[in-house]
Symmetry: C2
DNA sequence: GTGAAAGCGCTAACAT
DNA sequence: ATGTTAGCGCTTTCAC
């Protein structure tokens, strides 16, 4: 039924090991036998059994992609398909396969990761997020398993390879833009506080306020998931304040979308009554009205680079930890207004 | 270093085979030994090596997800992440892993599929598209490999399990809606002609025209990829006609997006000057202005159901071929105008 | 109810 | 340059 290396060997009149060497394109096999063996493979329709191979060499040619615990919710944000595109493209070029986590809750995800690692399912992995005190990251470090993270690690920064943007400065710049435009009441809507990216962007925002001698008000800070619904909720909170903000820095376009929707329902006009700046430059950010002024973080590139790093690391076990900062650029569009 | 079944066996004072049976939760192992073995596994931090297991049982607990050949382009359409979400959710529940194709060209994809099949990488697969004369589908049928397709197979419909919408009637209904609204010059912008879904939707459109005694004009038919750019190109063509259409049936929201953009650039107002109806109900369809009248095909559900079918099939080898039609509903929004 | 041993398909010394 | 052989870690007869 299934054709194995032995069948090929028989047909080509060589030993199985020779066939194996031909597969690996070993240099110490004569061109002649190579040809014969390859011919036999073609004729028999031979395909190597990856499980056997992986078992023998203790590796798979696969990389694991770890989404945040609830992959299902996460995939609602176009950020993830977009990094996936980048990763997939590199994986394809280098003939690696892609294994993606299927989510569940934190604990289940952790189990899935362990199965991938101990079960030899993947040779390395890419974490698509970075949280403070993430058991998964700790585990990977501990196990000395090759991985790279998209985002900045919370601890052991210098020992972990990661691909990130300069979120601090991007946020600073964004906030400055708002200040330049005359805004003095600027709110910040960020992701959950356990995400490092949230902290970085928040820091940038605070620095900008400080430099401009503006008060930092706790009321103006909202944290929630990178979802549309979170944006809506945030607006509800902020606009029930005695003094609602006239501008906001929002950490994700999807959230901004929710913000704009809710603002509309509240009868608050953007950018007339309130200015918005955002992050990610998802393609929808130029579709909606007003088109968003947002930071292009080059999501696709984040994916490509992280995969490249990982694969290098797999090839050369002792590759040092690297840090790659993907440049950002601010796309100025119509969601802010100069009120000077 | 790595802890194997032997280590566990030693620790629990049993034979490796017993450990194996405990893993499989065999009924002929005494509760007592089970406990002992499980304890040993915990203590040692044992995780089964999937490669070894798969090799022994000739299966993986993984399902392959095949995107259209250029996964990279495809992922630009939110349709794919959305089905992926559905598939992933089911996979997670049933403890299957997900293996996604990384694209390339047709030939490379075919090779990837063969590697998955012959290499025992996956137990079954889900095709996320259906084309006429698709070598991959032929191959899977031929090899008698378990798979399900999202969309309607071109041939051997009764022998292949698939999950689809009633695209014919949806399209018919959409076109009728336009006709009811007084439109007589209705164009059709569809996907490439090799996709079955394109044909089905085109048939629906034609039937509607016929019943209303309207001419079918070749000039009014455009075929291209499900991309934004295709929508733009289509508009260029259609609006260089002596008599441009006053309405269009568009087979994908992403295309519709391009159409609307281009229309705007042409100074043609939608829905004032031209009405648009579309397919898929991507979340962006309610974001853009005008909000799209579009067919909700329940993408997520397509994913969930296809995965369910596949897994059933894997469990019961002789499960008959099934056809599952996911109901659609038309979301009426603001992209059409009654010109009666 | 449990153990011994063969074998899944491949690779990698070690020979020659 | 090629063959022989011993595993890789697990499952599964077949014994007992």
């Amino acid at each position: 039924m299934v054709v194995t290396i032995k069948d090929v060997a028989k047909r080509a009149n060589v030993a199985p090991s020779t066939v194996s060497r031909v597969i690996a394109d070993s240099s110490r096999i004569s061109l002649d036998t190579k040809k014969r063996v390859r011919k036999a493979m073609k004729e028999l329709g031979y395909y190597p059994n990856v499980n056997a191979r992986n078992l023998a060499v203790r590796s798979s040619q696969a990389i694991g992609v770890i989404m945040p615990s609830s992959a299902e919710t996460a995939l609602q944000n176009p950020f993830f398909p977009e990094v996936l595109r980048g990763i997939g493209s590199t994986a394809h070029e280098t003939e690696y396969s892609l294994y993606v986590s299927t989510g569940g809750n934190d604990e289940q995800l952790f189990e899935e990761v362990k199965r991938m690692v101990y079960g030899n399912r993947v040779d390395g992995m890419i974490l698509l997020y970075s949280r403070v005190a993430d058991p998964i990251m700790d585990f990977l470090v501990e196990a000395n398993f090759p991985f790279v993270v998209i985002g900045k690690p919370y601890e052991q920064e210098s020992r972990i390879t990661y691909v990130d943007n300069d979120n601090y400065h991007a946020s600073l710049e964004l906030t400055n833009h708002l200040i330049d435009y005359g805004h003095r009441h600027i709110a910040f809507i960020g992701g959950t506080t356990d995400l490092v990216v949230t902290m970085d962007r928040l820091r940038g925002y605070r620095s900008a306020l400080k430099k401009a001698n503006l008060d930092f008000k706790d009321d103006y800070i909202v944290h929630d998931e990178f979802l549309r619904s979170s944006g809506r909720k945030a607006v509800e909170r902020l606009f029930s304040l005695k003094k609602p903000p006239t501008a906001m820095v929002i950490a994700d376009d999807m959230m901004s979308l929710g913000v704009i929707n809710m603002l509309e329902e509240f009868g608050v006009d953007c950018p007339e009554d309130v200015s918005i700046t955002s992050f990610n430059n998802l393609y929808l950010s130029e579709l909606i009205r007003p088109a968003l002024t947002t930071v292009d973080i080059q999501i696709y590139m984040l994916g490509v680079q992280s995969a490249k790093c990982l694969i290098e690391k797999l090839k050369h076990k002792e590759e040092p930890a690297k840090r790659i900062i993907i440049p950002y650029s601010i796309k100025f569009r119509n969601s802010t207004k100069n009120i000077n």
